[in-house]
């Protein structure tokens, strides 16, 4: 067993290194003593013999090194030695180490934090879910939830009926569950408290079973919940903690949604968020309760040919069943279901082909469904690129510091090399120092990332209140952290180490004695690095500038109405169970009562409200317009109350707006927006023409009585879509309340007024227009803030780098400058001489930076608004800022040079 012997020896040398070292010394000493004895025996004096023996032995240290090498532990051993030495050296220069560690902590920390977001959104599995890699998904996670869905090709969402077929008839699945694709917001009343808002999601009875979770307390849903309507609710662990202080008596408590009282049966385990990454529901409700909880729309029963596609489907495969088998089985069941669903409608071959062109695709469900994934990944990728550049700049900075330090350490290094250390050995030592430095930076970086992460999450996802994500140093993150650290260390360590060890040790030692420090090549490398830093900083500054301008433009974007002093309050008139006629009168009463609140200027209402996320689209025929196909017949519309346009302050440029007299039995009229007029009426005067709403069984015509300016009510980007407005009282209207002064203080009065009209009227949401619109720009604002922060740090690092190189250059040339001054050069001339030399370096950096910025600008193109990626003004401003900072950083050493006392300098 030779290897055991070898291992034993190796371990011994490793673990008992001091003992081994001693033995080596003793062995060589023994040899030396013998040699001396030998010479004495040949007639030399003891002293002569000793010298002769030493001469014959030659240098002992390299021999010892060779013995160590022979033991094959050179590497481990010398690494340990190097690390000890590195830590000692770094401790001796705390200033340098501090700056380097700080910039690394910022650089690596920012990278880690952004990467962890990216990782969480794009890669991470679902917390608390058992064996997520075995989950399969029949729905498509990359599309956000929709109620209508696509009836062609691969299905994104499924209907309740289809879920039942999959659950009951597909052999290959062991368990199947369905969940509501979008996370709902509910007004919830807990036993003994007020109405409050909570996130909830309808799920089938098998939901928890498929995901493989066990309750924290109580019980979770079971297949029994799929059979009958069971008024039960399961709470999330965080909601339980937040709202009930984690008390076990929550079980059996009553929870009211609309008119339905549900019983809390259990609490999900800690950390469990369900099937959709990045969303944290507060409660889960049985699918079968949907018709009772959202009255007016039964999504469990479809009437052909209408389908309500709104469910995610997850399943687990039986052992041995492949994706292909499961897919074939489920499609067979699926198509049989379609056949019986459409029935007679499939009679014609064409219709049949059209309707049956639907299929299911089985995908891995390991990462769950995540609507946030596609939304945020583009800006995250841009940010990841930005922090990557930031880290490069930090590396360049440290490399520069190391170069300067290397110059100062030249005598030490020269000494080591002349004592027999090979160049490779010295480079290894220097790189080890860099690695030690980077490792310390990485520890600090992990802390920075930990602190930065929640801030980033908040900044990035301000727009999505459902968003929930924790920072975890999982293996992927750890790998990223270690990888980044090592790459960074090699980036900033290798080049200076190579540079510093390049010269002949003899020359270097002599040079030292003349009092000059460093060489021209070193200065040149330093200047090159500074140019690189400047070049890298420019794209970051330009990016930040473009984002700041984007936010500025977005916040001043013309939405078509005055986006201030406006309240949006949505109530649900279905709730109190009014008869249709009573609903009408309550609505009038509400408008009148709200209008009477002091400070309220005008009140109207609409079905969609503003920027609510919802939209209505109808199939229409426009009088005198020939549609170019089915797509051309679809137009967006809204149902609005009287004086909608004057309340919002939207100019009606032709005709009149919708008035009180247009309601009820009056002739049907509508108002169109400019985009609508342009698309459907071209240059005709639209007034008097009819727009017909086409339903399957009815047609309703509306006469155009007015053309209003375009109003943005969906998003701030893109074109305003053609839209028409029809008068109608609504089931859940959003009141638009225009106030004389700041709107927010009036919210309470509006709430009280509504409750006075009917205390049972649920207020679904109440916001000022500013609150409503803030999420539209939230992501852009946070991206701009981050980009500006990164730009600032880059600028700072570049300034430090430039300052360092110039100071060093001036220090090196002290004698030369002193001679110039002694020969009569004026201070101003010396200053300008140094600044002139700086200019070339700055200009080269900025030129390259400009090219980089131009190339990189495409990265953020999709996020820009009202500014082109190559915007000259931004480029010029960023360049000027960089130039000014560079000159500022250069001025200090230049000024210092001009103040040099030649006598002191030359004597010293």
């Amino acid at each position: 067993m030779r290897w055991i012997q070898k291992l034993r020896l190796r371990l011994r040398s490793l673990l008992r290194s001091r003992r081994v070292e001693q033995e080596l010394d003793e062995e060589l000493q023994y040899h030396l003593d013998h040699l001396v004895d030998d010479y004495v025996a040949r007639g030399m004096t003891r002293k002569e013999a000793w010298y002769a023996a030493r001469r014959e032995m030659g240098a002992i240290e390299p021999r010892k090194e060779e013995c160590r090498d022979a033991r094959g532990l050179a590497l481990v051993d010398s690494i340990r030695q190097d690390v000890t030495y590195a830590v000692r050296t770094l401790r001796k220069s705390p200033g340098f180490a501090g700056v380097a560690i700080l910039s690394l902590a910022l650089g690596i920390g920012a990278n880690t934090a952004i990467f962890s977001l990216w990782n969480g959104l794009l890669r991470s599995s679902l917390p608390g879910v058992e064996k997520p890699e075995e989950l399969v998904m029949l729905s498509n996670p990359d599309d956000s939830g929709s109620w209508t869905g696509n009836l062609e090709g691969p299905r994104s969402w499924l209907t309740y009926g289809e879920f039942e077929q999959m659950r009951d008839h597909v052999e290959g699945f062991s368990v199947v569950m369905a969940s509501q694709s979008s996370l709902g917001t509910w007004q919830v009343r807990l036993e003994g408290s007020d109405w409050e808002q909570a996130n909830g999601r309808f799920v089938s009875g098998g939901f928890f079973q498929v995901l493989g979770v066990r309750p924290a307390i109580g019980r979770l849903f079971t297949p029994a919940e799929d059979r009958t309507e069971t008024p039960h609710a399961v709470l999330s662990h965080s909601y339980w903690q937040r709202r009930f202080g984690g008390r076990p008596d929550v079980l059996g408590k009553a929870l009211t949604i609309r008119k339905v009282t549900l019983t809390v049966v259990g609490v999900a385990p800690r950390g469990f968020i369900g099937e959709t990454a990045g969303q944290q529901p507060d409660l889960w409700l049985p699918l079968r309760m949907q018709p009772a909880l959202t009255p007016g729309r039964d999504r469990l029963h479809d009437t052909p040919p209408q389908k309500s596609m709104w469910l995610h489907l997850f399943a687990r495969l039986k052992p041995g069943v492949t994706y292909a088998q499961a897919e074939a089985q489920s499609n067979a069941v699926f198509h049989a279901g379609l056949e019986s669903f459409y029935g007679a409608a499939l009679a014609s071959a064409e219709r049949r082909r059209e309707l049956l062109d639907q299929r299911l695709v089985i995908r891995s469900g390991a990462r769950g469904a995540s609507p946030t994934r596609s939304e945020f990944s583009s800006s995250l990728t841009a940010l990841l690129a930005a922090v990557g550049v930031l880290l490069l700049i930090a590396c360049a900075n440290i490399a520069n510091l190391l170069l300067a330090r290397g110059a100062a350490r030249r005598p030490e290094i020269a000494l080591r090399m002349s004592l027999g250390a090979s160049r490779g050995r010295v480079i290894r030592q220097l790189v080890t120092e860099s690695l030690a430095l980077a490792a310390m930076g990485a520890v600090a970086a992990a802390a920075v990332a930990y602190v930065l992460h929640p801030v980033l999450v908040r900044m990035i996802v301000e727009s999505d209140e459902d968003f929930f994500m924790t920072f975890a140093l999982d293996p992927v993150m750890l790998l990223f952290l270690v990888g980044t650290t090592v790459v960074a260390a090699l980036l900033f360590g290798l080049f200076p180490a190579w540079q510093v060890t390049r010269t002949d040790p003899g020359a270097s030692l002599k040079e030292e004695s003349r009092g000059a420090v460093g060489t021209r090549t070193q200065t040149r490398s330093g200047r090159l690095l500074v140019s690189l830093q400047l070049a890298l900083s420019l794209p970051l500054l330009v990016g930040a500038g473009l984002m700041v301008r984007t936010v500025y433009n977005l916040q001043r974007a013309d939405v078509g109405f005055a986006a201030e002093r406006l309240l949006l309050v949505r109530v649900d008139l279905r709730e109190p169970g009014y008869e249709a006629a009573r609903r009408e009168s309550v609505l009038r009463e509400l408008v009148a009562e709200i209008g009477r609140i002091p400070g309220v200027r005008a009140t109207s209402f609409s079905q969609l409200g503003l920027f609510s996320g919802g939209d209505s689209v109808a199939t229409i025929d426009v009088e005198g317009y020939t549609a170019r196909g089915d797509d051309d017949r679809d137009a967006a519309f809204d149902r609005v109350g009287p004086k909608y346009f004057s309340t919002l302050g939207v100019a009606v440029i032709l005709g009149r707006e919708i008035l009180e007299s247009d309601r009820g039995e009056a002739p049907r009229v509508c108002v169109i927006n400019e985009a609508f007029a342009q698309q459907y009426f071209d240059r005709r005067n639209p007034l008097g023409f009819r727009i017909t709403l086409v339903n399957d069984d009815s047609r309703e015509s509306y006469q155009v009585v007015g053309v209003a300016r375009n109003v943005r009510m969906q998003g701030l980007r893109g074109e305003v879509e053609p839209r028409f407005y029809v008068p109608e009282s609504e089931l859940s209207p959003t009141f638009l309340i225009r106030t004389a002064t700041d709107a927010a203080p009036l919210m309470e009065a509006v709430r009280r007024t509504i409750q006075r009209v009917d205390a049972a009227l649920p207020i679904i949401s109440a916001r000022s227009i500013e609150e409503q619109m803030a999420p539209l720009t939230a992501q852009d604002r946070s991206t701009a803030q981050l980009a500006a922060a990164f730009g600032g740090v880059a600028l700072m690092l570049a300034a430090i780098g430039l300052y360092g190189v110039l100071s060093y250059g001036v220090a090196r040339r002290t004698a030369e400058i002193a001679v110039r001054i002694a020969l009569g050069a004026r201070p101003g001339r010396v200053t300008s001489m140094i600044l002139r030399e700086t200019t070339s370096l700055v200009v080269v950096g900025l030129a390259f930076g400009g090219v980089l910025a131009y190339a990189a600008s495409r990265l953020i193109n999709s996020r820009l608004y009202g500014v082109t990626p190559q915007d000259p003004a931004t480029l010029v401003i960023a360049t000027v800022v960089l130039l000014l900072v560079a000159l500022g950083a250069a001025y200090v050493p230049a000024h210092r040079a001009s103040k040099l006392d030649p006598i002191a300098a030359l004597r010293g």
Binding site: E26, E27, E56, E66
Partner: protein, 109 residues
């Protein structure tokens, strides 16, 4: 004096193994023994000897133990292991083959 580094690669290892085949010796004695056995032709300096010894030990061909030497001092004694004995045979055969081959080339002029 012929420097061991001038020797064909591995020759020093062979010499050490050969010397140790007779009895365990410490470093100095190994060098002396090689000198004697080669009729003062080969002198092994410590610069090559000790790294070679450490390497052979690491290879498992020789093992080391501390013992009292002839002059009553602690010295590190090396001795051949079983695998070292095997290696010696192989190396000797190899050496003979090699030296015979070299002689064939060098001898006739």
């Amino acid at each position: 004096m012929s420097k061991p580094t001038d020797l064909v690669q591995g020759t020093l290892d062979l010499l050490i193994l050969r010397v140790l085949a007779l009895e365990p010796l410490h470093g100095w004695a190994i060098a002396q023994r090689i000198r004697q056995m080669s009729s003062e032709q080969l002198r092994v300096g410590q610069s090559a000897l000790y790294p070679a010894l450490h390497k052979l030990e690491q290879q498992g061909w020789i093992s080391a133990a501390w013992a009292l030497s002839e002059n009553n001092r602690r010295a590190k004694y090396y001795k051949l292991t079983a695998s070292g004995r095997k290696a010696l045979k192989v190396e000797t055969a190899e050496w003979e083959r090699l030296s015979a081959a070299i002689s064939l080339v060098v001898k006739p002029i």
